[in-house]
């Protein structure tokens, strides 16, 4: 009698373990399918110049004004000045985001090339604007770099 009870108990216990295993595998599969993808973008202070990230997305350009890398007060001030000026311009010209010529003129005038350089993060939806921006400044060379960012991928900026 007790052997039968032990057997039933063992079967039930094993069934629970198998069910938990199946549930874990299914959950893992679902999470894998919907897994968030992130792109770690390594940026660095280059020739003592600070990386200013500009994102081209849905035909809009926006500057990443966060203080990402350790930098001097002078550079922080330069970054803050640039971003404050862009905010002011945005108030005056609300659709400046999608005007490559206006962005180019603003960058030319306000980017202190001795302290800052541009890093462009380009989404597929921002290709047209990015191309226009590059074309607009073809006679104006900056040591700049850029990176394609697939739609839906999160970007993590790492300062190296």
């Amino acid at each position: 009698m007790s052997e039968t009870r032990d057997l039933v108990f063992a079967v039930v216990f094993l069934s629970i373990i198998v069910l938990v295993g199946v549930a874990a595998v299914l959950t893992t599969m679902v999470y894998t399918v919907n897994a968030p993808v992130s792109l770690n973008v390594d940026i660095s202070v280059h020739d003592e110049r600070y990386p200013l990230v500009v994102v081209f997305e849905r035909n809009v350009a926006s500057f990443w004004c966060n203080d990402l890398c350790p930098s001097s007060d002078e550079i922080k001030e330069s970054l803050r000045d640039f971003c404050d000026s862009f905010d002011k311009l945005r108030q005056q010209l609300p659709d400046v985001y999608n005007q490559p010529d206006a962005i180019r003129q603003f960058v030319e005038k306000n980017l202190d090339k001795r302290k800052l350089y541009l890093v462009s993060a380009v989404r597929p939806s921002g290709v047209k604007l990015f191309q226009a921006f590059l074309q607009a400044k073809k006679d104006w060379r900056l040591d700049e770099s850029s990176i394609p960012v697939p739609e839906g991928w999160a970007v993590k900026l790492n300062c190296k």
Binding site: V20, A23, S120, P148
Partner: protein
């Protein structure tokens, strides 16, 4: 790409499944190049296909229909869909014998730089391809193209022309 860890916790009479799965890729920004130079070798990336374009203005006629505009000193290269379909296997970047790798083997990385013309469908594959090509010692640059936008080499002005 790195697959994040998955943790299964069983505690007491209740159990909790914690899954932390995420895909991560790491990449470094590189120059986006519109100048053309005899030492640049171009590849077009569309989905998982890497199509060898060739040096500026001399597009590989196995894959491209090439149109010369003599009066404007420019060359337009268009890859017809049916031809790309025919070579799909040879162009697949996940195929170890893909053309991109055999072409690169013949190029001297001290002389040539690789420029990737990247379609929106290939923004994710780009990161994997660039990693592999950089390992071979090539300097890599890129330029984004919209879907169906032709590749136009403005030979006179030594620039890629953006034409819609």
């Amino acid at each position: 790409m790195v697959l994040g860890g998955s943790v299964l916790l069983l505690g007491g009479s209740t159990f909790t499944i914690v899954t932390r799965l995420s895909f991560e890729a790491t990449s470094t920004p590189i120059p986006s190049e519109t100048r053309i130079d005899n030492n640049f070798y171009y590849f077009e990336l569309d989905y998982n296909l890497a199509i060898p374009v060739g040096v500026a203005g001399k597009c590989d006629e196995r894959f491209y229909r090439v149109i010369h505009f003599r009066e404007r000193d420019s060359v337009v290269c268009i890859a017809p869909k049916e031809i790309i379909e025919k070579y799909r296997r040879e162009l697949d970047v996940f195929n170890r014998k893909a053309l991109i790798y055999s072409v690169l083997k013949k190029l001297n990385p001290e002389r040539y730089s690789c420029i990737f013309l990247v379609r929106p469908s290939a923004f994710d594959f780009y990161h994997e391809v660039v990693k592999n090509v950089s390992k071979l010692g090539f300097d890599v640059m890129w330029f984004p193209l919209e879907n169906f936008q032709p590749i136009v080499f403005d030979i006179g002005n030594k620039r890629l022309e953006i034409r819609r």
